[in-house]
Symmetry: C2
Subunit: 309 residues, 2 copies
C-alpha cells in the first residue's frame, strides 16, 4: 500500500460528569487525512484544506506532522510520509480537532508500515500530540477518536482505556457557536481548589451515569448526566450556552452540557428524529442570542478512526 486515507471522528470530551476521563466519538463530523509514501524519508505536509486553513504546514509545528515525526524516529521506515489534511472539525471548537489531527495521521501512516503498531501503541503517540497541542497529555479526546464509542481513560501511566457501552439508539446533537473561547480564562476558572461536597455530588452522577450505560437505563442516565462541578464555572464564558441547554432539555434531551472545554455544546437524545427536533430548538435558541452556529445530529461512532481506502 502506497497511500492510506483515514476518517478521524470528532469527539466530545468530559461528557458532563467525566472531566478529563470520558469522551465519545461522532459519526457525522471528523477530519480526513491521507498519507502517501515518499522516497525521501521524513515528513512533509502537502496541503491542509477544510475548515481550518490557518494551520502550519511545517510538520514540526503541526500536530499531525509532529506525531508522525516522532513515529518515524521510532520505527525508522525506509520511506517518508506526505500528508494531506482535510479538516472537517472546526478549529478551537471543543470537538477534539487536535486529537483527530494526530490520530488520523497516525492511523493512516501506520497502515503503510510493514509491521503496523497496535492501537494501544498508537495511543501513546496520539497523547504526545495532545501534549503538543494543549500542554498536557489528556486522553479524553484521543481515546474515543482512536477506539470509538464512549471511553473511560482510567489511567495515562500506564495507559488504560475502558469501553463503556452506549445504550441503543442514542444520537448526539452537536452545536458549534461561532466564536472563539479564551482558553486561558477557561482554564483559570478551574485553578481554584474545589469543595468536597461538590465532588460528592459529581461522583454520584458519574457513578449513576456509568451504571445507567451498563444497564441501558435512559432515565438514570438522564438524571445523572449533570455537571455540577465544571459547567457552573465555565458556562458564564460561553454565550448562548444556557439558552441552548434549556432548549435541549425542554425538548426532551437526555442530557446537555459543554463539549470538551467548549464553546461547542452536546446533547444526547433517544432516536434520530428526537435528536433532529432538539437540534432545531437549540439552533433557534443560539440564533436568538444573536449568534451563528454549525450543528450536527450524529450517531455514536463505534469504530474510531478508520481507513477509507
Amino acid at each position: 500500500m502506497d497511500q492510506a486515507t483515514v476518517f478521524a471522528p470528532a469527539t466530545c470530551a468530559n461528557v458532563a460528569v467525566g472531566f478529563d476521563i470520558l469522551g465519545f466519538a461522532l459519526n457525522a463530523v471528523g477530519d480526513t487525512l491521507s498519507v502517501r509514501k515518499t522516497k525521501e524519508p521524513g515528513v512533509r505536509i502537502k496541503e491542509i484544506t477544510g475548515t481550518s486553513e490557518i494551520l502550519p504546514l511545517d510538520p514540526a509545528l503541526n500536530v499531525s506532522g509532529a506525531v508522525l515525526l516522532r513515529l518515524s524516529e521510532d520505527v525508522t521506515p525506509d520511506f517518508g510520509f506526505e500528508l494531506s489534511i482535510h479538516k472537517g472539525i472546526p478549529l478551537g471548537s471543543g470537538m477534539g480537532g487536535s486529537a483527530a489531527s494526530s490520530v488520523g495521521a497516525l492511523v493512516a501512516a501506520n497502515a503503510l508500515l510493514e509491521e503496523p503498531l497496535s492501537r494501544n501503541e498508537l495511543l501513546s503517540y496520539a497523547l504526545l500530540g495532545e501534549k503538543i497541542a494543549s500542554g498536557s497529555p489528556h486522553g479524553d479526546n484521543v481515546t474515543p477518536c482512536l477506539f470509538g464509542g464512549l471511553t473511560l481513560t482510567r489511567s495515562l501511566d500506564p495507559i488504560e482505556v475502558i469501553r463503556i457501552p452506549v445504550p441503543d439508539d442514542i444520537f448526539a446533537v452537536i452545536l458549534h457557536p461561532h466564536y472563539r473561547l479564551d482558553t486561558r480564562l477557561s482554564r483559570a476558572v478551574l485553578k481554584k481548589d474545589l469543595p468536597l461536597t461538590e465532588f460528592v455530588a459529581q461522583s454520584a452522577n458519574l457513578a449513576g451515569f456509568i451504571a445507567g450505560c451498563f444497564t441501558q437505563d435512559i432515565p438514570l442516565i438522564s438524571r445523572s448526566l449533570k455537571d455540577v462541578l465544571i459547567e457552573p464555572r465555565r458556562a458564564s464564558l460561553l454565550p448562548g450556552f444556557f439558552p441552548a441547554k434549556e432548549a435541549a432539555l425542554s425538548s426532551g434531551a437526555i442530557g446537555c452540557s459543554i463539549s470538551g472545554s467548549g464553546p461547542s455544546i452536546f446533547a444526547w437524545a433517544k432516536g434520530r428524529r428526537k435528536a433532529e427536533e432538539i437540534r432545531e430548538k437549540m439552533v433557534s435558541a443560539i440564533i436568538q442570542e444573536g449568534l451563528t452556529c454549525d450543528s450536527w445530529v450524529s450517531g455514536i461512532n463505534l469504530d474510531g478512526a478508520h481507513l477509507l481506502s
Copy 2:
C-alpha cells in the same frame, strides 16, 4: 404478629472510591433487634446488650428509639413498641453501627404494622437516624443496611439508590482495631477544598470500579479500588492502617481501604480461603503495631436487614 426480630447487617461505607455514596453490607456481623407490641402506645427500650452497653435507654436519646418515635408519630399505631437491642457491631468502629440501629428497629417495627411501609419509605426514617447520630443524613451506610449488596446512593433529595452488582465469590475482610477515632479530627482533615487533579484521579477510579463491577472484571476492580482523595488525608489518624493495608495487598487482596471514616479497615478478596489468609496477615500486622482488634471474614450480604422470626 406481636413480636419481630431482625438482623441488621454491619456495612462498610465509602468503599475507597465512593465517599458518601457507596457502601456494602456484611453477612458475618450485625445487630439483632426485637420489637414487641405493647398495649400502651409510645416507644420503650427494654434492654441493650452486646458490644455497646453504654447506649442510652431513653428512646429520645437513642437512634433506634428516635426513629421509632418518629415512625409512631406518622403512622399512629394503636399499640406501642418495646425494643430489645443486641449490638453486634462495635460502637464507633466505622462499621455502620448507627445505621444498623435505626434500620433494624424500623424493619422490625414495620413488620408489626397492619399496613407496612415500603423499604423506600423506611429509608427516609433511617436517614433521619443518621442525622441524629452524626449530624448529617448521609446514606452510604443505611442504604446497604436496608437493601443489601453494594449500593450507590445517587441522590438523597429525592432519594435514589442504585444497586451495583458485586462479582461472584467476593469476600470481605473487616478488621476493627481497638481504639476510638477522634471524629472531629477525622472531619477536620476534609474541611479544606481539594485540587481538581485529585478529583480527576479519584473519578477515574470510581468509574473504573463501577465498570469492573458490571463486567465482573476483578483486575479492573483491583486497579480501581484506590482512594487517592480521602484515605491519604485520614490514614495518619489511624494507627496500624498502613501496615494492615500493606499486609492485605501483599497477600493478594483485590483492594483495601478505610471502612467508613474508620478506624475499621476493609479488604476485598476472591474466595473465602484467600480472605481468611488475608485476615490472618492483617491481624498479625495490627498486633505487631502493639494494637488489638476484632476481625471477620464475610460474604456480601445481599438481602439487607431481614426478619429472623
